[in-house]
Symmetry: C2
Subunit: 664 residues, 2 copies
Amino acid sequence: MAGVDHLASERSKARFDVGEMKIVWAGSRHTFEVSDRISRLVASDPVFRKDNRAMLGRKELFKNTLRKASHAWKRILELRLSEEEASRLRFFVDEPAFTDLHWGMFVPAIKGQGTDEQQQKWLPLAYKMQIIGCYAQTELGHGSNVQGLETTATFDPQTDEFIIHSPTLTSSKWWPGGLGKVSTHAVVYARLITDGKDYGVNGFIVQLRSLDDHLPLPGITIGDIGMKFGNGAYNSMDNGVLKFDHVRIPRGQMLMRVSQVTREGKFVQSDVPRQLVYGTMVYVRQTIVADASCALSRAVCIATRYSAVRRQFGSNNDGVETQVIDYKTQQSRLFPLLASAYAFRFVGEWLKWLYTDVTQRLSANDFSTLPEAHACTAGLKSLTTSATADGIEACRKLCGGHGYLCSSGLPELFAVYVPACTYEGDNVVLLLQVARFLMKTVSQLGSGKKPVGTTAYMGRVEQLMQSRCDVQRAEDWLKPSVILEAFEARSARMSVACAQNLAKFENQEEGFAELSATLAEAAVAHCQLIVVSKFIEKLQQDIPGKGVKEQLEILCNIYALFLLHNHLGDFLSTGSITSKQGSLANDQLRSLYSQARPNAVALVDAFNYTDHYLGSVLGRYDGNVYPKLYEEAWKDPLNDSVVPDGYHEYIRPLLKQQLHNARL
Amino acid sequence: MAGVDHLASERSKARFDVGEMKIVWAGSRHTFEVSDRISRLVASDPVFRKDNRAMLGRKELFKNTLRKASHAWKRILELRLSEEEASRLRFFVDEPAFTDLHWGMFVPAIKGQGTDEQQQKWLPLAYKMQIIGCYAQTELGHGSNVQGLETTATFDPQTDEFIIHSPTLTSSKWWPGGLGKVSTHAVVYARLITDGKDYGVNGFIVQLRSLDDHLPLPGITIGDIGMKFGNGAYNSMDNGVLKFDHVRIPRGQMLMRVSQVTREGKFVQSDVPRQLVYGTMVYVRQTIVADASCALSRAVCIATRYSAVRRQFGSNNDGVETQVIDYKTQQSRLFPLLASAYAFRFVGEWLKWLYTDVTQRLSANDFSTLPEAHACTAGLKSLTTSATADGIEACRKLCGGHGYLCSSGLPELFAVYVPACTYEGDNVVLLLQVARFLMKTVSQLGSGKKPVGTTAYMGRVEQLMQSRCDVQRAEDWLKPSVILEAFEARSARMSVACAQNLAKFENQEEGFAELSATLAEAAVAHCQLIVVSKFIEKLQQDIPGKGVKEQLEILCNIYALFLLHNHLGDFLSTGSITSKQGSLANDQLRSLYSQARPNAVALVDAFNYTDHYLGSVLGRYDGNVYPKLYEEAWKDPLNDSVVPDGYHEYIRPLLKQQLHNARL
Ligand SMILES: Cc1cc2nc3c(=O)[nH]c(=O)nc-3n(C[C@H](O)[C@H](O)[C@H](O)COP(=O)(O)OP(=O)(O)OC[C@H]3O[C@@H](n4cnc5c(N)ncnc54)[C@H](O)[C@@H]3O)c2cc1C
Ligand SMILES: Cc1cc2nc3c(=O)[nH]c(=O)nc-3n(C[C@H](O)[C@H](O)[C@H](O)COP(=O)(O)OP(=O)(O)OC[C@H]3O[C@@H](n4cnc5c(N)ncnc54)[C@H](O)[C@@H]3O)c2cc1C
Ligand SMILES: [Ca+2]
């Protein structure tokens, strides 16, 4: 059977150039080539094997992660990989590890909040991994409410030091990744107290462990916070707990780019604008949106290939059963997720551009677009991670019973992905921030202040309140302008309705609290519009390759009309479309599913994932599912012996008992 | 701190008699008392501890399950528990085990499909657990499509035996619980072949393992199919793989109640109606609906208590932060799930009655209600399990970051629960069965055949196609008749629209396939109506206890109006209500949330769950969350040493390296 491609006939059906689509997916030929090369490198290295992950106990799992991380670093140095290549390598190793926080949070925090001298001192050490750092913000008692953190950093002018202290149990740092077992240093967020006054939360570089023997320094208690969701999943990460008992650090280890404490203990704000932090947030959340498209596309790739392999019921003339991908219910659950994966990819790409744009403006002291960029990234983080988490689980269900096996890869993908809905801002809290921004935008419409960027359409609010959808036939729904108008009308009208209802309250804060669930829905409508409009913008570009653009148009329409169907209540209740038009959209959607069907397998091939990265027997490139499922089963430790451990103590006595007093 | 009830002030807010509500939840005073007693018994027995479950490797976990099962049996015998008590005991042990399948599927299969003699032979052995059985239906290649099973049972008239054989890899039995390591016997479903003819799938009792040494009998290959979703979760179960190589069993081990094979090899149908199987299905699915209310209520109990303990942002006058349960977004996510738990409880109770009713009719040879009862249970199984799976995960997210820890209990609850969406009928496949039944019902409306039971409202279809919702003020939505009419109109109109669209197709099967996604939505609408109407019927009964009925009315309205809000598109597009009415429903919903708020903690106390059964630090009865979270963390094996295993090999060399050739 080796070498047989069970999906060959599916691949031959594709009506577009898969090679060109791979470039579009990757973002550029260069990115494609780097990813392709590095993913193969990882896949072929036995140290990076991960098929045994679900069976390992916590300690073995963790040790194996350390091994992989150290091997990855070795390879990065040996092969003299560029920063881009190194980051791809860590990505394809595909296992949460302390390095994620070191590179993804510790280094950026110092870059963003450290002075030039601080950067010169700490960054070279971090770049060479001579110190390993984590990001210690969240506490047992406070996550979302960062301003409520309780850890204190009290300046002692006598010694020119800060005293870092955990005054309560709930002030224990709790959750930071890499903290529990590995990090030697942390950026610790604590309330700055000097001159007897509390200046709120600031960041401090604190050494946690000795560089000689790795023991926690005096006054520092560190541990791992215990098992998390899933078998392997995020348990390869040492999310940690940290308590300080009056730990002293030099004054110079407060991150002083934005505010400083002088030798005398005076608190001083620098002239660097505080909004700079938003720049970092835009950056981090942009990477989260990119990750969402990766995780979702991976799940979709598995479910699509397996749906083409799996046959159940029915029967063609040749007596073979129907591929489950041919069922319209399967298509209506799967293809919108396929379309979402592409949609999130493109909006992620656009966010990368936005970050560059914001950064350039910041360095030119232009803060005008920052609030909008901030709201937009917060909303997109929330929207894409929620949809991805739900989408992965939907893909698992699409695989029937076999999706419940770890060998399908889907349980672990779900478990490792879901915290993205919580970290870097709880998704509901983020939506409320977006809603707040929308209400501000609406309230300023009269004042002549023109809304910018993704809220520009609000400037046409009067028109959008009255516009009527022109759809008369199902095909009319294929026009980008029609779709855009419907989504704009829905979002604008929901925001305006919220603003009107808010106005009825005497106290605006009370009103906001009372209406918050509806406000969150308005925020979702706004964010969905952004994703749809960025997909449409993408298609206005030149896209080479036979049939590539046509496929993307189909996916864009599926994404938009699926949202419309799923949120029909919004569109109808705001009068943005009529019932008849909603029903035509649904007809069009069915026809789009039929168009997507022959291209589905090729559309997931375009993600260019190796079998190693996919990590799924059901999603194998060659579709050789059943023999491999069967093979995998025998690797379970329970199969080490035919008669299980415990038989003599617990089963045999059951079977051999003499029942004298049973009532059963 | 011991003994302090951190939720005491919440409990004192309740405006109803919690003790009486416990009786309502349990179904009767008797059931309450049994559950209460047995759950305490389990909670106080150290063998049944489960707090270490997430940390165990597969083998340890499994052995521990064997230990619990054998101990449970010992206790059942020692205490001379009744069947009801024994089943509650297994329930509160709260760990999937071979006994679930032995009692839940093996025994019922023999009861339902065995002749009287077969029952007399096998049941006493099974009752005493002198044999342990499982239910071996699903194969690697076939689950949903039972008629497509490939295992063969060929009659050999020479020896008066059946030869059980697995002709292909995909014919391997795959998934049966209890099969992999424990069961000595199985009811195996196989194609009956006699006289050279294939008579389709029948059940056979097959011995799998020697009763002396537990080794598989000759020709039989058995193993475990490997790790499943979650750490502990369903991995305590030995779902298995099974291959037969021409295994011979006596003819008498074919389950012969419905059809027989004679000594000569002739296939004979008995006069027992084949519909009998539906009776068993109604029974099994009724237990699944009951389980849904248990799992959902458990998650809701955890999320509600923790939402009352957790404070984040804001600040009352006393400087204390706001309890997150006071946020309207939190309420709008949590309270509908609380209401759903109660709704599923009552519909489950009603299904129990339905099963009795069907059984009585069957014994009187009345099959008239069977198709309706079958469709109704299939639909309710689908609806409640899907909502419960999603609801558990929603509860996990409601707990923010801490919900991601296994010590919250929620990850394991999700992982162990989700397969309920797949086993006993994939939820989408079940909805399509319901849809088929609805279409048949609609098509027969003209013929004078009166729809019965849960489809009786279809008999008023003409009125429902024209009815207009009378709501003018938000309070109007509190009237049961108004709610019922809106749900009936929506469901009837969706079914009729489907039927009309189907009629446009020449080939009905093709039409059904093409429209299946919309048909599934119509099925959901019908099933939601059932749940709403059974909740309303429950409230028409006499319900004693101060304020108890009032609370249930609030929950019933929350359930209905939440569904209405969530499926607003259905209600508007069918013209069952107007946009204005939809918006009034949402206003009413907000006010209902405020009414539920002070009673929330007491409403989950009414489930009467022990801390052992809940298995959650966040859901502790006393609300003493933070110290216990902190305590739990240190139990993780990673905390056995301060410096982790692997430090010397993998971390120290990193920190101490001399970088000569790094480009980074
Ligand atoms: C896997 C993982 C890794 C992490 N890594 C790190 C790390 O490296 N470093 C670090 O510092 N932290 C880390 N965290 C912590 C993470 O940032 C927090 O969990 C997150 O910010 C959410 O905060 P919380 O847990 O306090 O949730 P809470 O705020 O307690 O949320 C509980 C509930 O309250 C609701 N809620 C809260 N406030 C409001 C409001 N104002 N209005 C309406 N509803 C509200 C939420 O929506 C939620 O439903 C990690 C967390 C996880 C799960
Ligand atoms: C934890 C667990 C325990 C189990 N225990 C047992 C047991 O004890 N004994 C036993 O015999 N089995 C058991 N099973 C197997 C279980 O019964 C099957 O997995 C279940 O019947 C679903 O079938 P499937 O896996 O073949 O799904 P499939 O039918 O392959 O489903 C795959 C996809 O195809 C879709 N699909 C299939 N047919 C259609 C159709 N006609 N129209 C539209 N869509 C369709 C489904 O909706 C799904 O999205 C267990 C399974 C699990 C997960
Ligand atoms: Ca128009």
